[in-house]
C-alpha cells in the first residue's frame, strides 16, 4: 500500500515542471500518508546521483550538487537558426555555389551579413571562391558538416520541388501573411 503511494509520489514529482507542495501532491496521488511517502522516497535517493529536496515546503528532484561539474544548467547554448538563417541555408544548399546577390534575388529580401556569418560559424557553409563576373563576388557552398548534421548522404538526397509539393510543403498558404513575416524578418536582420 505505502509502496504504491511512494511510486506515485516519485512519478508525479519527476514529471512535474515545478516543485510541488504536499497539498498539490495529494491532488494527484489521492489520499494516503503523503508525508511519509516523501520521506521514504527521499531516503531511497539519498547519496544517489539524484536527490529529492525541499524548497520552502515544496519538493522536487535535482541532480546531486557534487556532480554539477558533469552538467551545465545553461541550455541556451543550443540555438536554433532564425527564419532568415534557415531560408538562406536552404537556398545555398539547393543552388550552390551562390553569391549573396543571388541568394537575395531568390529570397526576395536582403540577406544580412550576420546571417551568413552564423551559417559559417555553425560550420555548414563556407566561401567557395569568387564568381568571375564584374565585382568578383564571393560565392558560398555547403560543407560536409552540413550533410552530416542534416543526416544527408549527399546533396542529391535533398527532396526535390516535386517531393516538397507532394508533401504539402509548397502550398502558398496565406501568402500575404508569409510576405509580412518575411518583411518583418528582414527588418530584424
Amino acid at each position: 500500500m505505502s509502496a504504491a503511494i511512494e511510486r506515485a509520489v516519485e512519478a508525479v514529482l519527476f514529471a512535474s515542471a515545478e516543485p510541488l507542495s504536499i497539498d498539490s501532491l495529494r491532488a494527484y496521488v489521492g489520499d494516503g500518508d503523503i508525508r511519509a511517502a516523501i520521506a521514504a522516497v527521499a531516503e531511497r535517493y539519498r547519496g544517489r546521483g539524484v536527490e529529492l529536496v525541499e524548497r520552502g515546503g515544496r519538493w522536487h528532484f535535482q541532480t546531486a550538487p557534487d556532480l554539477a561539474h558533469l552538467l551545465r544548467r545553461d541550455r541556451e547554448e543550443v540555438r536554433r537558426l532564425s527564419r532568415a538563417g534557415i531560408e538562406t541555408l536552404a537556398i545555398i544548399a539547393y543552388h550552390e555555389p551562390v553569391s549573396r546577390a543571388e541568394i537575395e534575388a531568390i529570397r526576395g529580401v536582403q540577406v544580412a551579413k550576420g546571417t551568413l556569418d552564423v551559417l559559417m560559424e555553425a560550420g555548414w557553409v563556407r566561401p567557395a571562391g569568387r564568381r568571375e563576373v564584374p565585382g568578383r563576388p564571393l560565392i558560398y557552398a555547403t560543407t560536409p558538416e552540413f550533410l552530416s548534421h542534416f543526416g544527408l548522404t549527399s546533396r542529391r538526397d535533398l527532396p526535390g520541388i516535386d517531393d516538397l509539393r507532394a508533401a504539402g510543403l509548397l502550398d502558398p498558404v496565406d501568402l500575404a501573411f508569409e510576405q509580412l513575416a518575411v518583411e518583418k524578418d528582414a527588418d530584424d536582420d
Binding site: 512519478a11 519527476f14 514529471a15 512535474s16 515542471a17 515545478e18 528532484f61 535535482q62 541532480t63 552538467l71 551545465r72 544548467r73 545553461d74 541550455r75 547554448e77 543550443v78 540555438r79 536554433r80 537558426l81 527564419r83 538563417g85 534557415i86 531560408e87 541555408l89 536552404a90 537556398i91 544548399a93 539547393y94 531568390i106 529570397r107 526576395g108 552564423v118 551559417l119 560559424e121 555553425a122 560550420g123 555548414w124 558538416e145 548534421h149 542534416f150 543526416g151 544527408l152 535533398l158 527532396p159 520541388i161 516538397l164 509539393r165 508533401a167 510543403l169 509548397l170 502550398d171 502558398p172 501568402l175 508569409e178 510576405q179 518575411v182
Partner: protein, 244 residues
C-alpha cells in the same frame, strides 16, 4: 433487398476509397480474411454501389472503376476457365484477397501502435530537466524538416518564376517540310528517314530534326507528296517519291 434493413449505412464519406469499403465488407463476413468468399464480397460491393446509384448519391469515379472491374471479375469467376485468358479470374481474386490482407494488417498494426504507452500521454519525461552542457554538438541547430519547409516557403514565395529557355538548336516543322520535300524529289528508291537528316549536326539538333522530319513526312504523305512504309512498330521508316 428493400425489406431488409441495410447493414452498412450508405455513408461514403466514411470510406477512404474502394479498397477501404471492400475491406469493411470483407470484415463483415466475420471470417478470417484468408477464408472470405471473394464472389460474395464482389456481390456485396456491387449491391452497395447499385444502391448508391438508386439513391442518386454521387459516387467518386474510383468506386465506379472498381465496380466495373469487380463486375468483370464476377463474370470471369462464374464462367468456365478459359486457358487463353491471362491472368485468370482465380489469380485476380487471389491478388485482391492479398491486397485486403495487407491493408488489414497495417490497419491493425496502426491500432496497436496507437494503443501503446505513448510518451506525453501515458508516460512522461522530466518536465524541467536541468539540461546538459553541450559537448560535441554544434552550437547552432536546425533539422531537415525545417530546411525543407524553408525552401518550400521560399519557392512558393518566389513563384511565379520566370522560365528562361536556353537557345537550343532546333529544326522547325516548316524547315523540315521544305527539306524533306526537296530531298524526296530526288529519291526514287525507298530511303530511311535518317537519310533525310542533316549529317553534320549536334546530337540535340539531330533529335529535333528527326522529330520534325517525322511530322513533315506525315504531312507530306497526307498531301500525297511522299509515300511511307514501315514493316512493324519501331521498325525503320522508309520514304520515297510517289510512284505516279
Amino acid at each position: 433487398m428493400s425489406d431488409a434493413p441495410e447493414q452498412l449505412t450508405l455513408d461514403l464519406e466514411g470510406w477512404e476509397g474502394p479498397l477501404d469499403l471492400l475491406l469493411s465488407l470483407a470484415r463483415a463476413q466475420k471470417v478470417d480474411l484468408r477464408e472470405i468468399s471473394i464472389l460474395a464480397l464482389v456481390e456485396q460491393y456491387l449491391r452497395y454501389v447499385e444502391r448508391a446509384r438508386v439513391l442518386q448519391l454521387e459516387l467518386a469515379a474510383d468506386y465506379l472503376v472498381m465496380a466495373a472491374w469487380l463486375a468483370y471479375l464476377k463474370s470471369a469467376l462464374l464462367l468456365p476457365r478459359d486457358p487463353e485468358v491471362e491472368p485468370d479470374a482465380d489469380e485476380l481474386a487471389m491478388r485482391l484477397q492479398l491486397r485486403l490482407e495487407r491493408l488489414d494488417a497495417m490497419r491493425d498494426a496502426g491500432a496497436r501502435l496507437m494503443a501503446r504507452d505513448r510518451l506525453g500521454r501515458d508516460v512522461f519525461r522530466r518536465a524541467a530537466p536541468e539540461g546538459l552542457r553541450v559537448v560535441r554538438k554544434a552550437q547552432w541547430t536546425a533539422d531537415l524538416y525545417e530546411l525543407m519547409t524553408a525552401y518550400g516557403r521560399v519557392s512558393a514565395r518566389s513563384r511565379p518564376v520566370m522560365h528562361v529557355v536556353h537557345d537550343r538548336e532546333v529544326m522547325t516543322l516548316e524547315a523540315a517540310i521544305a527539306r524533306v520535300a526537296a530531298l524526296v524529289g530526288s529519291a526514287i528508291d525507298w530511303r530511311t528517314i535518317e537519310a533525310f537528316l542533316p549529317e553534320q549536326a549536334s546530337v540535340a539538333l539531330r533529335r529535333s530534326a528527326l522529330a520534325s522530319s517525322f511530322l513533315a513526312a506525315l504531312e507530306l504523305a497526307r498531301q500525297g507528296r511522299v509515300e511511307l512504309r514501315q514493316e512493324a512498330p519501331f521498325a525503320p521508316l522508309y520514304l520515297r517519291r510517289p510512284a505516279a
